[in-house]
Every structure is written in C-alpha cells, then in structure tokens.
C-alpha cells in the first residue's frame, strides 16, 4: 500500500489511468484499503451470525434475522462505496488484485477473533499472497514516491 498522507501524494499520479489531483482522503488506493478492511469485518460478522442460525435453510435466508449479519451488510454497503470510488481511477484488474489483501486479513481475523486454527501451510499461503500483492503494489508505490 503506497504512502497516502504526504503533500506530494496530492499531485497527479501518472499511471495507466492517471489519477487527478485530489485530497488525500479521496486517494483511490486508500479506498481500496478501506474496502479490504470493511469486507473483512463484514465476513467475520457474517460467520458469527450464520453460526447462530440453523443451517440448511434456502440460500441461508434465515441468517438475515441475526444482528451480526445485518451489521455485516452495513459494512458491505460502506465497502461498496469505497470500491466504486476506487474504480473511477484504478483499472479493475489492479484494484481486484490489491483487494486480495482480504485473503490475508480474513484468515488472520478468524484466527484472532473467532479462534480458528491456522496451520503452518496456511501461514505459508498467507505469506505468498502477501508477496503477490507486494509484486503488484511496488511499482505503484514507487510511482507515488517519485511524485
């Protein structure tokens, strides 16, 4: 994730699709980060909610009665707005690849908050996914450093 707070970041980011000059809180990469965090929170809430509702119902409709699931839906709606803003400036394939950070944050969240086990191989997988994100994000970060 590139640095988003310095004054330099406010100047135009020249990339495949240039990002116009904007306030730091409108930076599309910040909004991809917001999307990732809100999606992780939402999915953990969905899991908590669906665990307390009977399984086997049609398409999991019974889960809508859960407060946790409803809060999760709220997080999903907020993450959608952040995502749509990011898509105005960032190519879908780059945004979608950076959003793979959910693959790291959700297992870590499940481990930390839900007590689910993470095996050694899964830790290795989390590390490899992180490497993949760095491979994609590094040229973007360097681009911002130069500006």
């Amino acid at each position: 994730m590139p640095s988003l707070t310095s004054e330099r970041d406010r100047v135009e980011l020249k990339s495949e699709q240039s990002v116009p000059k904007m306030a730091w809180y409108l930076n599309p990469y910040l909004h991809i980060g917001l999307n990732v965090i809100l999606t992780a929170i939402a999915n953990i809430l969905f899991k908590v909610g669906s665990d307390h509702t009977p399984g086997g119902s049609l398409l999991g409709l019974a889960s809508f009665g859960s407060v946790a699931v409803c809060l999760g839906i709220g997080c999903m709606i907020a993450s959608l707005f952040a995502w749509l803003h990011a898509l105005r400036f960032v190519p879908l394939i780059i945004a979608y690849s950076l959003a793979a950070a959910t693959q790291v944050i959700i297992p870590l969240g499940c481990w930390f908050f839900l007590g689910e086990q993470i095996s050694l191989v899964r830790w290795a997988g989390i590390f490899v996914v992180t490497m993949g994100i760095i491979i994609i994000a590094r040229p973007l970060a360097r681009l911002e450093e130069r500006l």
Binding site: G55, I93, A100, G125, V128, I133
Partner: protein, 111 residues
C-alpha cells in the same frame, strides 16, 4: 467439499466477476453518467447479490478461514474477463503477481 458445494462456489464466483465488470463499466468511463451509470451499478449489484446469496448458503458448512481463500482461484478468471470485456492492459508483472496470489490462496485453502 462435495461437487454440489463446489458448484455453489463456482456460481457465486462467476456472478461476482460479472458484477465487478458492470461496476467498472459504470465508474470507469467519464461519459457514463446518470441513469446509464445507475443501470450498470444496478446490474453489478444483481451479480453481486446472486453471488452473496450462494455465499451465505455455503458459510454455515465450512470455517470461514478455509472457504474464503478458495475465492482467490477466480483471480485468473477475473484477469481474463478484464482483458476481454474491458480491454485492460495485462503486464507481465501483473500476471506474475496474480499467479503468486493464486498459488498462495490455494496453499491457504488446501489446509
């Protein structure tokens, strides 16, 4: 994971990809505004909603930390879809990154 649950996951992923393509069509072009934009966002929401319902149906049956990373297998599918439907540029570095992420996701999901 049985064939039935894998099919549910495949439907969920495909719907989500179609939805993302619609979102990008809504936001990616300055000429797409007003009802035109709302239409694409609506189509994206329908795609996402179909994926979401199938996702909710899957959740009670598996630990989230195990089932969620399987979704990353759809990343190469998304790359192909963005190439075909949005004509986005796919650099070698991006392809490498996507491949590494997918391998990592399979490692996470396979344990």
């Amino acid at each position: 994971m049985t064939l039935f649950f894998f099919l549910l996951l495949l439907i969920s992923n495909s719907s989500a990809i179609a939805g993302q393509i619609c979102f990008k069509r809504a936001m990616g072009h300055p000429d797409v505004v007003g009802w035109h934009r709302a239409g694409w966002i609506g189509a994206g929401l329908v795609g996402g909603a179909i994926g979401f319902f199938f996702w909710l149906a899957l959740l009670p049956h598996f630990p989230l930390s195990k089932i969620f990373p399987i979704e990353a297998i759809d990343r190469p599918m998304m790359a192909v879809a963005a190439l075909i439907f949005l004509r986005e540029k796919l650099t070698s570095r991006l392809m490498l990154g996507i491949a590494v992420i997918s391998v990592g996701a399979v490692l996470v999901a396979g344990t």
